[in-house]
């Protein structure tokens, strides 16, 4: 048991999975000598050698494309894309191939691979460094899409993703990398992909969030509990796709109300699927429309204006109150 931030927790998962399985290797820009621009792969090249922790040339499509080839051979590559904003360069390799090889070969080959990337705001960085692109992956059949919300579940989910026989896109909230430390068990730990977690129980309203917004939702829940005496149940999705509709619907069937929070743009965003699934699964229990608290439908705003753009607890509280008052 050690108190680790999310960077160290992810690093631990990588080190242990590589220890456990020689077929696991790491591939990406600056992942080796430099240990990754956020240091998630720090020291791994020293430990496992440059054949297993590969500093690739600067080309995202080839990172994913060669990883697909490695996976078809039976290796289990963990790719790092430096920022999620630079993953559109490899989007065709993800959509055309990583997600489809099992289907295309009717099970003869498959891509056991993980595509890690930092996403979201909070680092005072320039364009393409603060966006939240999970929707693009969530809509691709054949992929799984995971977003942890803290050190411990990040570590467990990354281990699960690496062991998962299907390709997993794994988003890491930059805002969480150093935000907090948690006790993380020394022994390898996993967490089932496809399962959401109820992180705070409540009977008045369901708050659905993930990644950096899970914390924002919790904060908002505490505030309405303290100030309004209302009990919000907070669901941390952890897996975006396949979506754990069962957990969400069960909660809303009880509470009758829901607010969804994400950093991605609103229109045609992940909140839409969550809201639609709630309507499909819990229509007769719904007392109010499902509200979405999201970033604006603007491509980027510059970090100086991020606060006016990305949801914070105050905005969530306001939406919760409106929903309760509906």
């Amino acid at each position: 048991m050690a108190r680790l931030n999310m960077v160290k927790a992810l690093n631990l998962a990588l080190a242990q999975e590589m220890e456990r399985d020689r077929d696991v290797l790491i591939l990406g820009e600056d992942v080796g000598v430099d240990g990754g621009v956020f240091r998630v792969t720090d020291d791994l090249q020293r430990t496992f050698g440059s054949q297993r922790v590969i500093d690739s040339p600067l080309a995202e499509a080839a990172i994913i494309g060669t990883a697909v080839g490695m996976a078809l051979y039976g290796l289990k590559p963990v790719c790092e894309i430096q920022f999620s904003g630079f993953a559109f360069q490899c989007f065709h390799q993800v959509e055309n191939h990583a997600a489809r090889y099992r289907l295309r070969t009717q099970g003869r080959f498959h891509c056991q691979m993980v595509i890690r990337m930092p996403y979201g705001g909070g680092v005072r960085a320039l364009e393409h460094h603060t966006e939240s692109e999970e929707q693009f992956y969530a809509h691709i059949p054949g992929l799984k899409m995971v977003i942890p919300s803290g050190p411990r579940n990040a570590r467990a989910l990354l281990a699960s993703a690496i062991r998962d026989p299907d390709p997993v896109v794994f988003f890491e909230a930059k805002a969480l990398y150093h935000a907090a430390k948690e006790e993380v068990p020394d022994e390898p730990e996993t967490f089932p992909i496809g399962k959401a977690r109820v992180v705070s129980e409540g009977r008045d309203l369901t708050l659905v969030a993930y990644g950096a917004m899970a914390r924002v939702a919790l904060e908002a829940a505490e505030q309405v509990r303290a100030e309004d005496g209302a009990e919000a149940e907070v669901i941390d999705l952890l897996t975006i796709s396949p979506l754990d509709r069962e957990t969400i619907v069960r909660s809303v069937a009880k509470t009758g109300r829901a607010v969804v929070v994400h950093e991605a743009a609103r229109s045609f965003g992940p909140g839409a699927e969550i809201a639609a699934s709630i309507m499909e699964g819990a229509f007769l229990s719904l007392e109010a429309p499902v509200r979405r608290v999201t970033a604006n439908d603007v491509a980027f705003v510059g970090f100086a204006r991020e606060k006016a753009h990305v949801p914070d607890a105050a905005r969530v509280v306001a939406a919760v109150r409106e929903t309760l008052a509906f």
Binding site: L25, Q51, R52, S56, P57, A59, A61, A62, I64, G65, T66, A67, V68, G69, M70, A71, L72, Y73, G74, L75, P77, H92, Q93, N96, H97, R102, L103, R104, T105, Q106, G107, R108, F109, H110, P141, G142, K144, P165, D166, G194, P242, L243, R245, E246
Partner: protein, 380 residues
Amino acid sequence: MPRTVLEPRFQVEYLSILDSDGNLDTALEPKLSDDELRALYRAMVLGRRLDERMVRLQRQGRIGTFAPIKGQEASQLGSVFTLRPTDWMVPSFRETAAMIRRGWPIEKLLLFFAGYLEGGQPAPDQHDLPVTIPVATQLPHAVGLAYAVQYRGDDAVVMVYFGDGATSEGDFHEALNFAGVWQVPVVFVCQNNQWAISVPLKKQTHSKTIAQKALAYGVPGLQVDGNDVLAVHAAAREAVDRARAGDGPTLIECVTYRLGVHTTADDPTKYRSEEEVRAWERKDPLTRFRAYLEKKTLLEDGLEQRVDADIAAAVARFEAMGPPDPLTLFDHLYAELPPHLAEQRAELERRLRAGAAPAAPAPETPPSATPMRGQRLTRR
């Protein structure tokens, strides 16, 4: 410190062994046994005859659109013949003859072109990737396979196919660059058939050859007469040996020609002249190799008939296959069916039971669907 020319200077070689009459540069003649030569010719004949048969099947609506190989038999077979079964073959979408050589049953390929995913499943012991349709996207896969071969310390070589048009894609560039940096055992075989659908090579790139593109990656590049099966074989053998010896990748440009349509939905009379086609028909790889074998008295009697009989038997097996159960369409997306797909599967099952969708869709009658392009029935 003036203006200086950097050393080494670069050059690209051209290899040709057999001329159009089957005459030979004996110094370069590859050491192939009589059996190997016969097998090579048989594969070329099979490629040609199957191609013709498939065009007819397509016109009858029994299979969908596909990309014929006519004219490219030497390029793909000369190269693929240098592989061992334990080597890897990564096709694009125009390697039917090479795929058959690698062990794909004809009826499986027909099933694939008839729109069934089952046709794309390689056999358990086959080290072959299936058809890749997005141009050039298979090149990084080949490099990744080759990396894995090296990582595991295995003895295999990876051979990957693509066209002249594919060299314009970013994936071509990135794959060759990675292969150069990693020095992995991969052979890049470009079938430069002069056309990417309607776009001729000179509109595709300003470089004189495809082979010289290898210079950008510090990788050896070689241009070869792609209608000369012996030259292709020799070039591929050299590249495969180099790769197997641990000396890294090679780019081979096979200069050849697509004598037929781009796909069965294409009308080449729109974009190229009869004369051009006729000029290349005179360089037909089959004629040339046949002349060579004739001189060696290695031609087999009744070969065409035996090949046709084999094709007919395969077509019969293809037609005898019942259409697979539509419900299997959910089977191989994930290792385990997630809840939302289980639900969608159950819904389809209900619909099928209610007779709403045909449980066993009969092979369609000739295309009622939108034709791509003119789809006039042209001579070729």
